[in-house]
């Protein structure tokens, strides 16, 4: 479904990604792990069109989207929940969620998804009239994820969704993600909770200074020396 082939990305002439390749197949949950600054977020941004690779290609459903506009890519069914959350501060929680469904044309579906999100995060329902910027850090994270679930994306990309969530919610989050996968969502996940993420992942990629240096089945990776040493500090 998604095929990233040796992309290279620069920020103002300074390379952030040297050579990143990865693949996500229909229905899969793929996890990307890597140290801080290894280029995980940049990879997701390149896919969604937030930054443009200087070389390499990105294919989505056989179509090249390397240089496509973000809005078009989103309309093709790719949803991205950014690391920095990017809540629309002055808008209410509910307005934020409705914006998540901007590309959807069916009023009914939007209502359904809204209910679904409120079920997933009752906290949001409680606060649905509060302005986004006054939510606590964790609440904002829930809102960001909820907003990503307001349409049924072909590919859901989550960038460190557990950031700032309390342990209980982190556990729940991973449950939710597995649940979504079971529902048939295709998910590309970036996580620092390496262990939990790899446990539920089908496959994983390891990034190091802008390169995909390793890939494999989720559980296998978890056992591998690289992961143990570099991420878990065992």
């Amino acid at each position: 479904m998604l095929k990233v082939d040796r992309i290279q990305v620069h920020y103002e002439g300074i390379p952030a990604l040297h050579e990143v390749s990865l693949e996500v197949n229909q229905g899969e949950l793929v996890v990307m792990v890597g140290a801080n600054g290894s280029g995980k977020s940049t990879t997701l941004k390149a896919i969604i069109g937030g930054v443009t690779p200087v070389s390499g290609t990105i294919l989505f459903n056989e179509r090249e989207i390397t240089r496509e506009e973000t809005a078009k890519i989103v309309r093709m069914g790719v949803v991205y929940v950014p690391e920095s959350r990017r809540i629309f501060g002055p808008l209410t929680v509910e307005e934020n969620l409705l914006l998540g469904a901007f590309t959807s044309d069916s009023e009914k579906e939007v209502r359904e998804h809204l209910e679904h999100v409120y079920q997933l995060f009752p906290r949001l329902k409680e606060r649905h009239k509060q302005r986004g910027e006054t939510l606590s850090g964790g609440e904002q994270q829930m809102l960001a994820i909820g907003r990503g679930l307001m349409i049924r994306p072909k590919l859901l990309m989550l960038d460190e969704p557990s950031l700032g969530l309390m342990p209980k919610l982190v556990t729940e989050l991973f449950k939710t993600i597995s649940l979504l996968k079971e529902e048939g969502y295709t998910i590309l996940l970036v996580e620092q909770n390496v262990r939990e993420a790899l446990e539920i992942a089908d496959r994983g990629y390891i990034l190091q200074t802008g390169r995909t240096i390793h890939s494999g089945k989720g559980v296998e990776l978890l056992q591998s020396d690289i992961v143990k040493k570099a991420f878990l500090g065992l």
Binding site: G37, E83, E139, L165, L169, Q192
Partner: protein
Amino acid sequence: MLEVKNLVKAFGGLVANGDISFELQEGEVLGLIGPNGAGKSTLFNCIAGYYKPTAGKILFEGKDIAGWPPHLVTREGIARTFQGMKIMPNLTVEENVMIGAFCRTNERQVAKKEAREILNLMGLTEFGKELPSGLPISVQKRIELARAIATKPKLLMLDELAAGLNPLETKEIIRTLQRFKEERKLTLFLTEHVMEFIMTISERVIVMAAGKKIAEGRPEEVARQDKVVEAYLGERYAKGR
């Protein structure tokens, strides 16, 4: 050293901190945990002067600093870092830290020396002349920490310093912190959702939920309490322990 008495902070109708009281001894490491939205950052903000408490007292070394503006609180000796960093993007890393050091000196040379020393201790010397915006989050977090330490605080408050770091990086930052704590005789007050961090470093933990303090004690004890598990930690941790 720090004594919070019956602190209340309300936003309109929403009570983010309802009657919080606790004490913090010199040299202690106190952890603060609690569900998202429990009011931890609000409490930090009240102490550091970013919010004016609705009611209650905040005694720091005997002085009631409740309602003081942030810069005076810092000058009294309380430094903080922010949840979601606030780095000064157009100043170099060294200048970021220098500005912290200026809190205690008027001499540029002194501030510069101090900044270099702290950067060196943190292993950040190589980034000194760079602008912080392009640096990885883990580095930015350390810069923020360095900057706070440069103000020569007695009490250092850290709001989710380890968020976004992987377990290895978390371990590193714990080590750095502990070193500074020893060398500079810091008292630490921190909040964190990463249990590996908070449970390792804290000597005592306060648990908040829905704006109230619900538990207090040594980390292992607190983590065993049912209400904490239920409100905050979740089953995974319950099982784990």
